[in-house]
């Protein structure tokens, strides 16, 4: 039997190589030169991260409607947004993108918000040479997937720095604790950045405490954190857990400020209720910014969807705008040409100037917002802006 093994291995290697070669041949999707321009959108419309998916889709849809209302692209062709739900699951995200690219033949893809799902679906876009623009995936590794992956938000090393600086300089914290969600690349990356910066500033960071998305009882880890008496606690995960964490912390008598990243921006955060007092987040944009660009966006969004846009919606809007701009400048619906145009994107967005750098990221300032809870709803109140 042993004699056959090298042979078998060789056969397997050959088979894999052959199938890879076949796939490469069929990459360039055929796009017609007339009719609607198909753009894909994938996001978490249901599941744990539903708020992310719904907001970013609304934002993207609004941008598409604006562009179509103004006459469309490439000599009057309209954009059609094809939406796929990934149910907040990474494996579904890559399925959704595969479908959008291979069956629907979209020219570009918008999504995802959660880094973990962008990391799952990004390689598919890269393989089929279809540009992907993520509205809000802040994990560094997302755009490192390849040269077809772009984003319109800042990245976690910067966001972590902003949060750490705010805690150290403004809240005068000396000793901090960090709770991280080990099931989310976003939370892990943000935690690393916070720990790095806060230690550099001369503060003390307690050993990060871990939990997993979907956990509902945090009292054991919170009691342990409480015993070490930190001045500030960072909860670097997403909003569904953040709401419960803050609430249970207050029930344990922990009164210190809780800080989070942009992952706290989600409808279900409001379930933290009164416990959300004395919490701060870093965010991409502030709806109460007096800049007319922002105010016009907020007004138009409210007229269309009957509620205030959150920062994820603003980023969804910007992501669609950037992709449309690249299609228009490239004068084409071919992946490689759109990609080249995306790499030189530089336009004014709702969330700030969208200028792609060599790593396909945009450098933008972050805002710090205070979380307030009143009349059953959460409001993020602008505190300060921190530039890169």
């Amino acid at each position: 039997m042993n004699l056959h093994r090298p042979l078998l291995t060789a056969a397997c290697v050959f088979a894999i190589a052959a199938s890879a070669a076949c796939e490469r041949k069929s990459t360039s999707a055929t796009q017609s030169t007339t009719g609607d321009i198909l753009v894909g959108f994938y996001g978490s419309l249901t599941g744990d991260g539903a708020s992310f998916g719904i907001s970013s889709r609304e934002g993207a849809q609004m941008a598409v409607d604006d562009i179509n209302g103004a006459g469309g692209l490439l000599g009057g062709r309209k954009i059609k947004l094809l939406v796929e739900d990934d149910q907040s699951k990474p494996e579904e995200a890559s399925n959704a993108v595969t479908k959008l690219i291979t069956q629907d033949k979209v020219v570009g893809v918008i999504g995802e918000v959660a880094s973990r799902r962008s990391l799952a679906a990004g390689p598919v876009c890269q393989k089929y040479q279809t540009p992907m623009v993520s509205p809000a995936s802040t994990n560094e590794r997302v755009t490192e997937i390849g040269d077809y992956i772009f984003r319109v938000c800042f990245i976690d090393p910067f966001q972590g720095e902003v949060l750490a600086k705010f805690a150290f300089n403004d809240l005068k914290a000396k000793k901090v604790a960090v709770l991280k969600d080990i099931a989310q690349d976003y939370s892990v990356g943000l935690t690393d950045a916070i720990v790095r910066t806060f230690t550099q500033l001369g503060g003390q960071v307690l050993d990060p405490v871990s939990y997993s998305s979907g956990d509902a009882d945090f009292k054991a880890i919170l009691t342990q954190v409480r015993a070490q008496k930190p001045d500030v606690v960072f909860a670097t995960g997403y909003y569904p857990e953040a709401a419960v964490i803050v609430r249970q912390a207050r029930e344990l008598g922990m009164k210190m400020p809780f800080l989070g990243g942009d992952g706290w921006v989600g409808d279900a955060l409001k379930n933290g209720r009164e416990a959300l007092a004395n919490c701060y987040i870093s965010n991409h944009y502030s709806g109460d910014n007096p800049d007319p660009v922002v105010q016009n966006f907020v007004k138009a969004y409210k007229a269309k969807f009957n509620h205030e846009p959150d920062s994820i919606a603003a980023l969804g809007y910007d992501a669609a705008k950037v992709l449309a701009d690249a299609i228009s400048r490239s004068g084409s619906t071919e992946g490689p040409k759109i990609r080249a145009a995306l790499a030189t994107a530089d336009l004014a967005g709702v969330t700030g100037r969208l200028k792609m750098n060599a790593k396909r990221n945009v450098e933008k300032p972050a805002v710090i917002q205070e979380v307030t809870f009143a009349n059953g709803d959460v409001k993020f109140v602008y505190k300060t802006t921190i530039a890169p």
């Binding site: 539903a50 080990i182 342990q224 409480r226 609430r247």
Partner: protein, 299 residues
Amino acid sequence: MDTFFQQFINGLSLGAIYALIALGYTMVYGVLRLINFAHGDVYMLGAFAGYFIANALNMDEHPSILGAMAVTLGAMAVCAGIGILIERLAYRPVRHHSRLTSLITAIGVSLLLEYGGQVVFGATPRFFPQMIRSQTYAVGGVQITNQNLLIIVVSVVVMFGLQFIVHQTKIGKAMRAVSFNLSVAKLMGINTDFVIAFTFALGSALAAAGGVMVALAIPRIDPLMGLMTGLKAFVAAVLGGIGNIPGAMLGGMLIGLMETWLGATAYSTYRDAVAFAVLILILLFRPAGILGKSVVEKV
């Protein structure tokens, strides 16, 4: 020291949740020798039933203890009905087949409820209305909320209540008779179908009460919430000795304490594994559980 006692209280609060569900597991097993894997999902349905009733009563804005009781009773009634339905449609047709058939049916029902739940309710987690405003009591540095206190009290009351029903009432006697020998019980004139349906109704109503109680303390509910909690409650029942009512209580508390204890260490992310490690150990060394009696089966 504060931390130690706080963790103890945290563990008891969590353990009481498992105990409440484990009681239902153990009762159905005690009577039918059937591990009703769908029990955790009935618990989920209870939480959702409570959610819809509470929202219909607008409890989030008008919290009241009376309303909370009404919601709990409503959810219990709904789930008792569902329990009877499950027994009638899924378990009764296979009752006279091998035990493995029932077990597989139970897993099927469980999956049906979980994924059916996702279709009906959606996968997005919902937040249970605060029917009773959270209040924290502090003794020294140890804090406990009124909601957690309620869960502990309710689980103890339920344990004694069940013990009473099974050992002191007529229907309890019938349940024990059915458990002893189904055919002979039938020959003695016991309406076995009714007794079994009653067992399911009672077990499911308890699961619903558990669902509403837990949703009060940990307000996040979703169609898969019964999966992990149900499995851990099952382990709790086995640990205490499946079929044994005080055993379920003890097992639940122990699992809660162990999980909390591990959650407080650097290995906090392994906390879900604790229950299953315990299951393996208990099956290896004391399959009858802590309070269970091992019975030699004649082959």
